[in-house]
Symmetry: C2
Subunit: 317 residues, 2 copies
Amino acid sequence: MTSNRVVIALGGNAMTGADGSATPEAQRDAIRQAAGHVAEVVAAGVQVVLTHGNGPQVGNLLVKNELAAHEVPPVPLDWNVAQTQATIGFTVADELDAALAARGLPQRTAALVTRTLVDGDDPHFAEPSKPVGRFLPRERAERFVSLGQTWEDRGEKGWRRVVASPEPLSVVDSAAIHALAAAGFVVVCAGGGGIPVVDDHVDGHALRGVEAVIDKDLTAAILARDVDAGTLVIATDVPNVMVGFGTPAQRPLGRVTVAELRELGAAGEFARGSMGPKVEAALRFVEAGGTRAVITSLDHIADAVRGDDVGTVVTIT
Amino acid sequence: MTSNRVVIALGGNAMTGADGSATPEAQRDAIRQAAGHVAEVVAAGVQVVLTHGNGPQVGNLLVKNELAAHEVPPVPLDWNVAQTQATIGFTVADELDAALAARGLPQRTAALVTRTLVDGDDPHFAEPSKPVGRFLPRERAERFVSLGQTWEDRGEKGWRRVVASPEPLSVVDSAAIHALAAAGFVVVCAGGGGIPVVDDHVDGHALRGVEAVIDKDLTAAILARDVDAGTLVIATDVPNVMVGFGTPAQRPLGRVTVAELRELGAAGEFARGSMGPKVEAALRFVEAGGTRAVITSLDHIADAVRGDDVGTVVTIT
């Protein structure tokens, strides 16, 4: 394990405006804020590998696919994921390079187009359940159903496309990520959970993109494992995971073992909201041999890398 | 110079259908064909850095921007270039990895999001002249003029957007490309001439994407220089550059010196068609210290790397 290597997973709040706006300007402004915090982590003397979400960005691309479908061929969902890796990737590179230079740090940023391997037989493909894009009236949705997409009737709000969210098995490009990190680059990779690909086993090695989206936190755990990181930091909009959320007994979770966190999860503590996948990702990374996983807010990530007294810190014992 | 390193610039015919079709299927089929030829170059024992065009792909994205502009924010042209780097990049990686594995070669492919530095004061910004996207009726074009875009009245065909095509100065991410190539990866980078960025000199280093497209062959020459390649191969759809094109004296050009080729260019031999920028790129690379530049067809690139008897071969003497 390269214990000096840290994988940081940036959430949507690091990529989009406070109101969820995903205009190019809003994305760049949010990324500029995040870049300052990431530069502070680099200043702490660790090798940083960055990954990020892409929900609102993919949503916008799906609308463009849909509204232009009569004039230009829509591209599959895996292509949309790739597109967001590049737009977010080079914007992060521009802003983070500036933040690093402003601090007199020699490191620079590299953004890698990244594929994540999934199992073509993953049961999620048989029962797509992850909603993507926007609601449409039935008659407009049916056009895409006829193209082979799965859409669900969500009642008053209309119909919405659902896609498979298969389990990430490995980061196909982890060797390239390792080479860049070892050469001193901050690597932006596996955005949006990575471009989902399956192995057709033709000639022993033939990858093919598939229409799916992979949970970006679960991929972050696989990424941290595959690049031998010692620490996984999942940046979100709260400083700590809460237990007893919304009850009088509500309290922030600090240091916690895998066993204790599994128990809390089994008790339904993280069933609701977006904390579930973050907790699961933290658990999987430590269970796979990672030293520690931290869930905290963007403005705490540098302190979280320096010590164990910030955020929710998951360790084996 | 890493004389064992070769930069190959793939033309549109390696990315799109014979009819210019840029559906995902047509792109993948064309890339599969090209990947076989590139794998043969790798088999020749050289380090390969790949770059490529993106014209039809950017054209499709501009149409999507336009038709969805009333519902989702259009993204700037530099974002569109980035998007094509990712979709073409991971498709090349999938197909080339398979072609390499099928030949028992250990190398694998890495696709890097790549920025190309241009001068904010480049005169081309004051007089945009590169047509992009499709023709629109005046009333529809005016909407985008009001957003700050430059469109020209092309008479019967309608209005068409024109953008700046500034000179590429350097490949910002060349150090990352070098690190990946040195680690044994075939690197796909600087697609579509690279994402055009200018340096605002804030804090000494603050890059910002700009609305422009850079000629992919001219960038290939800069890329080959910046990654210390010994040979630049520009793959096109003809085995040789022709002189006396369309005249009874028409003949294919074989080995030629920089001086001879400059003379032919000055005589207007390459004024028409798409050969001009390829010839200029070959000249610039050799003039900048490159050992040789070759312009030939995709099916000849492996032989062109092995010897000097294939294609149009440009050397200093």
